[in-house]
């Protein structure tokens, strides 16, 4: 297993390089640049800007410089739009925010989602199942851009319990609504996947046998059924965890958290190449790491798995 992990980490290097090359080419192929604006800049001013940010160089040179900067100095360059800040600073400031509400939302979504899913499967077609399914569909059709204003309306405007936005260094009152708005839909998906996967596992022979032998149901479920049932949930959770901890543009914009989720859209719309590359690499690294973790967990759940 150690050798496998080591090999996967080695493969990560060319993967990330490929990610850089593809993203770089795509960004530069898209119309408009960081300094394209309605009030067009005079050509000389534009030329100076391009020279300052190295955009006057051939794309391969820009790419080479970028990779060099990242590898040698761990420097992701200056933001082209937020001129007072570097990409390192923007990520260092925004990532902890989304990490904080993302992890909380993840824990909430997984614990509630898996519990709901297991209960619904074990008591299939009972009222419990129907309630669980009803909740999960209801939660799924409430996208965060509907959830967010509803939450603010209730908790800020009507009840006056929670502040309508901001972060204040992660004070819990500022986290409640982002966490709920983010967790709801994921919780619903996790519940549905768990339920379905659990239902399948419960019909497998060895589980049937265990139940027939008269082992207590909760023992069977926890010992034998839950673990294999978690495989599809895990596959889903790999990329999901990454997108949760890197935040959501809707939540960051609506609740003014200052989180990094906003930049996935912002940096693209602004053609802030360096910032876009920074957040793309962040997601790339996290995706590789957590998909690796998921694969390792597969092997732990089902030792018979060969890759």
């Amino acid at each position: 297993m150690i050798a496998y992990i080591f090999k996967r980490l080695l493969v990560a290097i060319p993967t990330l390089l490929a990610l850089i090359v593809i993203s770089f080419l795509m960004m530069h192929a898209a119309p408009g640049g960081p300094f394209t604006q309605e009030k067009q800049l005079p050509p000389q001013v534009l030329a100076n800007l391009n020279a300052k940010y190295g955009l006057d160089q051939p794309i391969w040179v820009q790419m080479g410089r970028y990779v060099w900067g990242v590898v040698v100095h761990f420097d992701f360059g200056p933001s082209f739009v937020y001129k007072d800040r570097t990409v390192n600073e923007i990520i260092a400031q925004g990532f902890p925010v989304t990490l904080s509400y993302g992890i909380t939302a993840f824990i909430l979504a997984v614990s509630v989602g898996v519990t709901l899913g297991v209960l619904a499967a074990v008591f299939q077609n009972s009222w419990l199942d129907h309630v669980a399914v009803g909740i999960s569909i209801g939660a799924q059709v409430l996208p965060n851009f509907v959830m967010a204003p509803i939450l603010v309306l209730i908790f800020t405007l009507w009840l006056g319990w929670l502040p309508g936005g901001g972060w204040e260094g992660g004070d819990w009152r500022h986290q409640v609504m982002p966490v709920i708005a983010m967790a709801t839909a994921y919780m619903a998906s996790i519940a549905r996947i768990t339920r379905s996967s659990m239902l399948e596992v419960l019909t497998l022979n060895h589980i049937r046998t265990a139940r027939a032998k008269g082992l207590p149901t909760h023992m069977v479920i926890l010992r034998h059924a839950l673990k294999p049932a978690l495989i599809p949930v895990l596959s889903y959770l790999g990329p999901t965890f990454v997108s949760m901890i890197t935040g959501s543009v809707v939540i960051d914009m609506f609740f003014s958290t200052g989180g990094i989720g906003k930049f996935f859209v912002d940096a693209a719309l602004n053609r802030d190449y360096a910032l876009m590359m920074g957040v793309t690499l962040l997601v790339g690294v996290l995706t590789i790491v957590f998909n690796l973790l998921v694969d390792v967990l597969y092997a732990w759940i089902d030792p018979k798995i060969r890759f």
Partner: protein
């Protein structure tokens, strides 16, 4: 973080008892709470006066820094860093007397050399400011050459005669030069701090400022806090502190937070002004804003739609837009219907007599139908057009309404195409459009900031309107003592040739807490100065 919070709280409390409970200038009774928080659309992009290119950053910068002149609530110049100026007979050399008691926050006096340094920095190719062209616009000697790299920064037409005397030399005697000095790019720059910290000099606590406020807390993407600067030369008249700018991207979210008491000022989402005005008559406000919204027509030869090369078609389209509907039913925020490009509220500008501006909409529609038929379009040969706009709620609503107006009145088949911002702009610059939504906000309070745009030599004339007479008028205006007659004539040509369809002129539509005073009422530039704000006792 905690430390800064503590600091700002202490400073805030320390500041409150410093004045009497009356405003020293107006004599109004003041409230005990003099904290102010307002909504900012996005994080600060830069606080470096010479790098600032957004309206909101300059709002913050006007609190932290101070240039030669400020504007009062009506848009008139008020001495700030300068106390007075003289101008030579040929109107080419301006000599400013600086305020000797003005100080940087590190205790050093603000000298003429700081202005010279700031201005040289602005045009320096190495800094690569997006506003580098501003001094060229102001006709400061050699500004363009320095930006182009063909002259040295030292050759810029700005000199420090002594610590408190600044001399500026222009290339052409433009009549509105002093009006341009309220822009943050002309503020002085603290050389020592910039040399020491480089690009990091605007970060807290490195930042050195000369304005009425000190930057005490920065949480990018969330908030910026400023407190009163006790060493400011006019500190005795500064009442409001602390000033908090909260970054809130979503305007509906901002309004909710305003209603929850977290903000003292926020923008009104489009279409919501009438309801809010009814509910909160003392809080909903609308004041004119020096921006114009139009549909730009591509008249470049070989580009765009051939039908639009016919002035009759362009006029028909313009006439058939019911601007009152757009202003009263869509925007609903006190915007005004536009029949001219330059907003009539611009200082010293007289709008020409544009015939269709005083017709009824029925008359306009009849005329439009007649013109379009004359141009050869009718039910069996309908005019088909496309209109590009960048994604935004208000643009979408207007485009959809115009599409229906043209369809219902003229039988024109319009396809509105929305594009993401950069694609939209890119298509406009490339001339790859038939009609495009366009808007422009004044750089300074004078008509040339609008009218220069449609000259044949302008870099922003994307529709490629070309009229030598127009160009001659605008060139001539640069050296006239009173250019307003030229502006009026030029605007008349735009109405006759209709290369653009003016739609409306902006208003700043805000919710403002009723006890808050000192915001500009008649300044179309909407410059506001935190130091002029105060809360009255209710």
């Amino acid at each position: 973080m905690k430390k800064h919070l503590l600091l700002s709280t202490i400073l805030a409390f320390a500041a409150v008892p410093a004045f009497a409970d009356k405003n020293p200038r107006t004599g109004e009774e003041l409230a005990a709470n003099q904290a102010y928080s307002y909504r900012m659309l996005d994080s600060v992009k830069s606080l470096d006066p010479q790098l600032i290119s957004s309206v909101e950053d300059s709002d913050v910068a006007r609190g932290l820094f101070e240039g030669l002149y400020n504007e009062d609530g009506d848009g008139n110049l008020v001495p700030a860093g300068a106390v007075s100026y003289t101008v030579s007979d040929d109107k080419l050399v301006y000599t400013f007397k600086l305020r000797p008691e003005a100080k940087w926050s590190d205790g050093k006096p603000v000298t003429a050399a700081d202005y010279v340094y700031g201005w040289q920095r602005l045009v320096d190719p190495a800094l690569a400011s997006e506003y580098a062209y501003y001094l060229e616009l102001a006709q400061v000697k050699n500004a363009a050459k320095i930006t182009a790299g063909t002259a040295k920064a030292a050759d810029l037409g700005v000199k420090a005669i002594d610590d408190t005397t600044l001399e500026v030399t222009l290339e052409n005697p433009i009549p509105y030069f002093t009006k341009m000095l309220t822009n943050s790019s002309t503020f002085p720059a603290p050389k020592a701090a910039i040399d020491k910290f480089g690009a990091d000099w605007t970060k807290q606590p490195n930042i050195v400022t000369n304005g009425a406020y000190l930057l005490t807390e920065v949480v990018d993407g969330e908030k910026y806090v400023e407190v009163k600067n006790p060493a400011y030369w006019d500190a005795k008249n500064v009442i409001m502190s602390p000033i908090t700018a909260l970054v809130i991207n979503d305007e509906d979210a901002a309004l909710t937070r305003y209603q929850a008491g977290e903000l003292d000022r926020t923008e009104v989402p489009s279409g919501q002004y009438p309801h809010l005005k009814e509910q909160f008559p003392a809080e909903a406000t609308s004041t004119p804003y020096a921006c114009a919204y139009d549909y730009l027509i591509n008249v470049a030869p070989g580009k765009g739609n051939e039908a639009l090369k016919d002035v009759r078609v362009r006029k028909a389209l313009s006439y058939a837009i019911d601007r009152d509907v757009i202003v009263n039913n869509i925007l609903q925020g006190g915007q005004t219907p536009a029949y001219s490009w330059t907003p009539p509220a611009i200082n010293g500008y007289a709008m020409p007599d544009i015939d269709y501006s005083h017709w009824t909409q029925a008359e306009r529609n009849d005329k439009a139908k007649a013109l379009l038929t004359e141009a050869g379009f009718g039910p069996d040969h309908p005019l088909k057009l496309t209109l590009n706009y960048n994604t935004s709620d208000a643009h979408k609503k207007i485009a959809v309404a115009v599409q229906q107006m043209w369809k219902q009145t003229l039988g024109v088949e319009l396809t509105p195409n929305n594009y993401e911002w950069k694609v939209h702009t890119d298509k406009m610059i490339a001339g790859d459009f038939e009609m495009a939504r366009y808007a422009w906000c004044a750089d300074y309070n004078e008509a040339s900031t609008f009218l220069d745009l449609y000259t044949g030599y302008s870099t922003n004339n994307d529709g490629k309107y070309a009229n030598p007479d127009y160009d001659a008028l605008m060139k001539g205006a640069k050296s006239m003592a009173d250019p307003s007659t030229n502006y009026t004539k030029a605007e008349g040509m735009l109405a006759a040739d209709m290369p653009i369809i003016p739609i409306y002129h902006y208003a700043k539509v805000d919710m403002i807490k009723p006890d808050l005073k000192g915001l500009p009422q008649h300044d179309v530039m909407q410059f506001w100065y935190a130091k002029d704000l105060y809360r009255i006792k209710q």
